[in-house]
Symmetry: C2
Subunit: 455 residues, 2 copies
Amino acid sequence: MEVKTAVSELKLLLGDRVSTSDADRFHHGNSETWFAAAPPDAVVWPENTAEVAEIIKICAAHLVPVIGFGAGTSLEGHTSAIHGGVSVNFSRMNKVLRVNDQDLTVQVQPGITREELNQELRATGLMFPVDPGANASIGGMASTRASGTTAVRYGTMRDNILAMEVVLADGRVIRTGTGAAKSASGYDLTALFCGAEGTLGLITELTLRLHGQPEAVGAAVCAFPDMQSAVNAVIMTVQCAIPMARIEFLDALAVEAVNKDADMGLPVQPHLLVEFHGSDAAVAEQAERFGEVIADFGASGFDWSAQAEDRSRLWAMRHRAYYACLGLRPGKTAVVTDVCVPVSRLAEAVIAARALIDAAGLVAPILGHVGDGNFHAILLIDPDNGEELTRAKSVSHQMVEHALSMGGTATGEHGIGQGKMDLLRQEHGEAVQVMQAMKQALDPQNIMNPGKIFS
Amino acid sequence: MEVKTAVSELKLLLGDRVSTSDADRFHHGNSETWFAAAPPDAVVWPENTAEVAEIIKICAAHLVPVIGFGAGTSLEGHTSAIHGGVSVNFSRMNKVLRVNDQDLTVQVQPGITREELNQELRATGLMFPVDPGANASIGGMASTRASGTTAVRYGTMRDNILAMEVVLADGRVIRTGTGAAKSASGYDLTALFCGAEGTLGLITELTLRLHGQPEAVGAAVCAFPDMQSAVNAVIMTVQCAIPMARIEFLDALAVEAVNKDADMGLPVQPHLLVEFHGSDAAVAEQAERFGEVIADFGASGFDWSAQAEDRSRLWAMRHRAYYACLGLRPGKTAVVTDVCVPVSRLAEAVIAARALIDAAGLVAPILGHVGDGNFHAILLIDPDNGEELTRAKSVSHQMVEHALSMGGTATGEHGIGQGKMDLLRQEHGEAVQVMQAMKQALDPQNIMNPGKIFS
């Protein structure tokens, strides 16, 4: 690895769009969770695909790692340069290239964030619904196969990308997919690069599916006597096929956190936060049916509203929930779990998680996208207390093992990153060898985000 | 290739579940379209995954090709043994292994057909909606990334498979995916094997998403003064986000064919066949909105019905449409095109296709799943007339080139098979090298369905 030579060549290519300053390096090597900072040797800001291809060619020639960087909101340490290298910041490739309003698709560069994209779409009557909470970049969301609050209705990134442009580990530029709504033409490379966490190439353009902004939107919160009732209400809602746009769970401790953070004044009990999309009549019908379902589970305080302000306040609170939870132990950080189980096993999984957390003596609110069977425990820890970190990691591992025993997955939406490499093997067994064969075929020098997904 | 030794070893393993009879060989090497029959050297009927693994190990040891066989309804010659080898018939692996009604999923063996599956699900209130027309096997549908009439509402096979068990080219058995509704855990191997046309491994088990049988179903036909009006009505319907369960196009010649075949008595004009799913109120609302849309395009005869008999007759007719079209030239066969374009370009694509067909002096009804931008011309040809076949292939190629120029794909749902290998390259360019790298990594001896997708 000849980083210095690579950086010199990058400076010839990009001029002052290369930085080796400590501030830039540390910002890009940092993480929103417990992972130790691992700064890259340099940060670059390309402005187009050709520059990304040149950057990768230079890095490939000198065996220097290449790490994509979007908004830095990964919870699994995806952007840390654990083997050094060059962080490729996509913030200057953040344009909407074309809205195809007749086809309900949009072509974008990867650096645009989901909020920026929806801002640009506002006047078209269309929206890009995938919402992982954080204002992540679209390229990052594609790379981690992100989903979040609306996946229960609109699907995950996997379901909402039609086509991509990708720069491979040797600088070749390929296109996956087309503008057609479906295709049976060869291997599904779009799906291969979506969720590859930057380990097979860098995404430089995406064609996304759009959806019409709903005519009407209704939102509500409701409280439950206990966790089991709340989760069972979710299971029943899914089975009744009420087409929820969002159905989010907060346990009592998470409610305490958001009350404190956003002055919500909710009763300190498990809650569901829900949203309905459709025509006025459809929203009213869905809300009514949902109200009937939750009544059987002892719900209280259900009072849905079609007011935009009420809704904005609700989802602003939900979007800040991670930071609100961190606020329960100021100055501390978190190990964030992300299991996803078959919905029928959800109550069992959440209750077992709570028992594990309590037995370990940890403080950890639980919240999640329960319509998909996906939930998170925010295990709050002191980063300087190694023993506490060990306990939190142990809880996280046990939660995953429990989820796997139920036919679930180690990660519903955050990805493997640095934190779950051993669990990948536990989940997939011999199939990991197939993944490694893909990696070996496309990145034989292991320069694309090394140390993520596979050790 | 030592086929004889391999067949002897297979007989030791499977006894009389190995056949080398001409009848069996020709049945398995045949095709529903124009491809020349290419019989395998032997046909085997495994009863479980372990047997499939042993079969592949034997074939791998002797470099004998392995070709999966479901219901034999492929339109791109997928099951022909163009390099000889062993056809693996999955008809004895056709069980429903488990219905998870709380999770809306089902585990099945690959040999079950979609009609058999829905028959078994009938009492559960659930259904597997993907409907390519033919009564194909689920394994075959997964292998070609099939879709069909209901994809506009329920998605394609890609969207409806959660997990699979796959036997690789060296006999290793892997599992892709889990029972969770979503996952961000490693590369998306489910998507890799779905649509791989048996060139990377054989699928031996699938976990499918199910959907509730709709409370109410409405269906209708309507006639249009010309092709452009019919297709523009579809485009507007899609843009109005009416959640059509089915929206099928038949041109006047296709109507003539189904009239003749099923005594439908429809006016010989372009038609749309539609279906609405939902609650009684939702179906009525959708039908009313659709009626308003098509009125602007000169539609006539729209009279929707919630009667099951009317609907059955309608879709039985549609399902037989391919055979009805063949009946326009008895004793002949067909080159079936399968382009899919962005919906906004659909009218242009269909009109250009009709012009190409007419200029070539061919007889070819056009029909398709137009809500997705996917349509088929059934180019009727005399298999013994080489010049006619050449003309038909030329029309097919020009249709694909036109579709690609519009941002479309060479195949919406039939796959590449034998017929579109050159077009794969035209569509994907350098990305084909990535596909070949996958193939090389997973099947270095090229024994899995050789001569399909890649030449």
